[in-house]
């Protein structure tokens, strides 16, 4: 596709997304749009570290949770303006990531995977203990609660995240990150400071995750602090990335839409627990038969219909 076509398609989609609250007024539909956008940010940010840099972070929830908690406190409990609070969420997640990043990246491969998993688990347990109560939005805010500003804010942050990944994938930085994913020794030998770029990727990834947390803090009528660190936040992001297509820009976007639609559709039309099992089966099928994710399906389809050769699009 030419650049122009790319631009006009993306522009069209953005305009449609801006129109969404004007078209749909049902709270459930708006909620699903909101969640899809939240998942796009959550999974795309995971993709930066996991997909592009090759560092499987199973502690993603830790940074989402840190961002959400920080934002909520700054906003509701310290009374600072919302944009500052959400930014604060992103920063809190990043600072936390940098503190643990130095030791964590001493761990290679599977040790990093399990180390991050355990990190989130520790936070989950600790926060369930020190903040056992749900954090409920004050009644005065609940009375005036509207999904529309929440929707637009999540749209903004999702667009920001996708744009960030687009820029990274086309930049020198992206090349460096991918080289780390492919072979750390060879990356070093080509002049890439792998430790530094891993940390940088970690910082960007966690900053965006923290923003996702911030948005959630703004959205959520109530949450339990420990629940923000539940492994589902990590696993949902991982599932979305792999189902959509790991290491691609479109993957997490398509994956999020698919994920929210499918889960919701199944739970409404296949009740009695079947939906959970069916989702599991579908997920396995995608992993086994579509290693490149849904994005691969699309490129295959395009290849077949156009008959032309495809270029490697990273």
């Amino acid at each position: 596709m030419s650049n122009w076509k790319h631009l006009s398609v993306s522009g069209g989609i953005i305009v449609l997304l801006i129109l969404v609250p004007l078209i749909f007024t049902r709270t459930d539909i708006l909620t699903f749009f909101f969640l899809t956008l939240l998942y796009i940010t959550l999974s795309q940010s995971w993709n930066i570290l996991g997909g592009y840099t090759g560092q499987i972070n199973l502690g993603h929830a830790a940074f989402f949770g840190a961002g959400a908690l920080a934002a909520r406190y700054i906003w509701l409990h310290f009374g600072l303006p919302l944009p500052l609070a959400i930014l604060g969420g992103g920063l809190a997640a990043t600072i936390f990531a940098m503190i643990i990043g130095f030791p964590a990246f001493r761990l290679r491969g599977i040790y990093f995977v399990i180390g991050t998993l355990v990190l989130a688990e520790i936070l989950r347990l600790v926060f369930y203990t020190i903040l056992p109560r749900a954090d409920v939005m004050p009644m005065r805010l609940l009375g005036a609660y509207s999904l529309i500003p929440r929707y637009y804010l999540s749209l903004l942050i999702a667009l920001l995240t996708v744009a960030a990944v687009y820029w990274i994938s086309r930049s020198r930085l992206g090349l460096g990150l991918m080289s780390i994913r492919e072979d750390e020794d060879a990356a070093e030998a080509s002049g890439v400071d792998t430790q530094r770029y891993k940390l940088l990727a970690f910082a960007i990834s966690t900053f965006l995750t923290g923003l996702a947390g911030g948005i959630y803090a703004y959205y959520s009528a109530a949450f339990r602090a420990g629940g923000l660190f539940e492994p589902v936040w990590t696993f949902d992001a991982v599932i979305i990335v792999f189902v959509g297509g790991v290491g691609t820009i479109l993957g997490p976007v398509i994956g999020s839409v698919f994920f929210v639609l499918l889960k919701q559709f199944l739970s409404l039309y296949l009740p009695g627990g079947i939906h959970v099992a069916v989702f599991g089966v579908l997920f396995i099928i995608v992993v086994l038969f579509l290693p490149g994710g849904l994005v691969e399906l699309i490129t295959r389809f395009r290849k077949r219909t156009s008959g032309g050769s495809i270029q490697i699009d990273s």
Binding site: P138, S267, P271
Partner: protein
Amino acid sequence: GADAQAAPKTIKISSVLSLTGKMSGMGTQIKPSYEIFADQVNAKGGIYVKKYGKKIPVELRVLDDESDGLKTQTQLEVANSWGAVANLGGLGCGSFEMGTPICQKNKMVWVGPGCGGWMPHQLGNEWLYSIFFKTPFFSPLVFDMIQAQPKPWPNKVAIFEINQMDAAEAGLYWKQAAKMKGFKLVYHKKYLAGTKDFSAMITGAKAAGAEILLAYPLPPMGPAIVKQMKELDFSPKVVYWHRAPEGAKFGSGLGELADYVHVPCAWSPDLKLPGNDYVIEQYKKKTGKKEADLIVGTAYTAFQVLAAAIEKAGTLDRKAIRDAVRATDMETVCGRIKFTDQGWAKDRLIVVLQWMGGKTNIVYVNEHGKKYGDKVPVKPLKWQPKWSER
């Protein structure tokens, strides 16, 4: 005036429950209870709504929240958009705390068997009604119960406190009440949800000479604590727990090991209040179980209250229904229900049950229950003997 034209075909009522996931044990007990009530009402043509001048059948839509608070919220949004006039809640403070703010924001009343936690009611949520009593009022019961027995009374108290809101509240009020009533706290440990091994705490409580064990364990932990108490030969005179002994499989699963465990409840199949026979019979028919689970009556009551409120409101307007719920004052299968301004049922009948031989006996009833006389048959309480003497 009656405007048959505008009358909706059904009264849409949603119920967001945990049918899968960690809390599904409770959710799957509540669902048949609600269905029994809906069938009962619909068999008579539905609820009379004055505005339309006729009876309208109830349409109950149960939505699974997968025991996940976020899902509780999105399912309530689905219920909202579907046009539910009210929501019947599930159990557990998690879903309660996470879900009711959504009801507040969407202005839809939530009536549920509820949770013991008092805190959620103190936030000013005007749409939340729980027919259960709250921690400060039922926590002292255990000591009242002991002091209602012939002396000598056991005196040394141990508390195992799980890191959850209602348990923390209960812990606090247990401590206060113990002090006021002359009991001595000898052991108090907090632990994380997910702890599977209790031997350390049991060893500690035993070493401290505890005679009364108070705890708030989740259902899957019940068997573990009992077995480990036996293994470590710890036999306090009173074992008084919330939650785990309410589980459907506590008695049948543990058999004799379950004996002597106490649990406070808002309902028991032994209550002789009007309507209970029907509920129990229908429940057994519907589920094929031999006994009605302890949550059955409480859930049924929630629907009783809601239906009465709709009829009294005479319209399907959500706010009018909410106001009618708030003004509830009625007798139910659980006794009298009357709400405070904070939405919790005050002056509730509470019974303390003791497991014995695979079923529960009422061994104590609070002052609000005493009014019902023989309708609440109380049996004598037995102190737990040493394991070697059982």
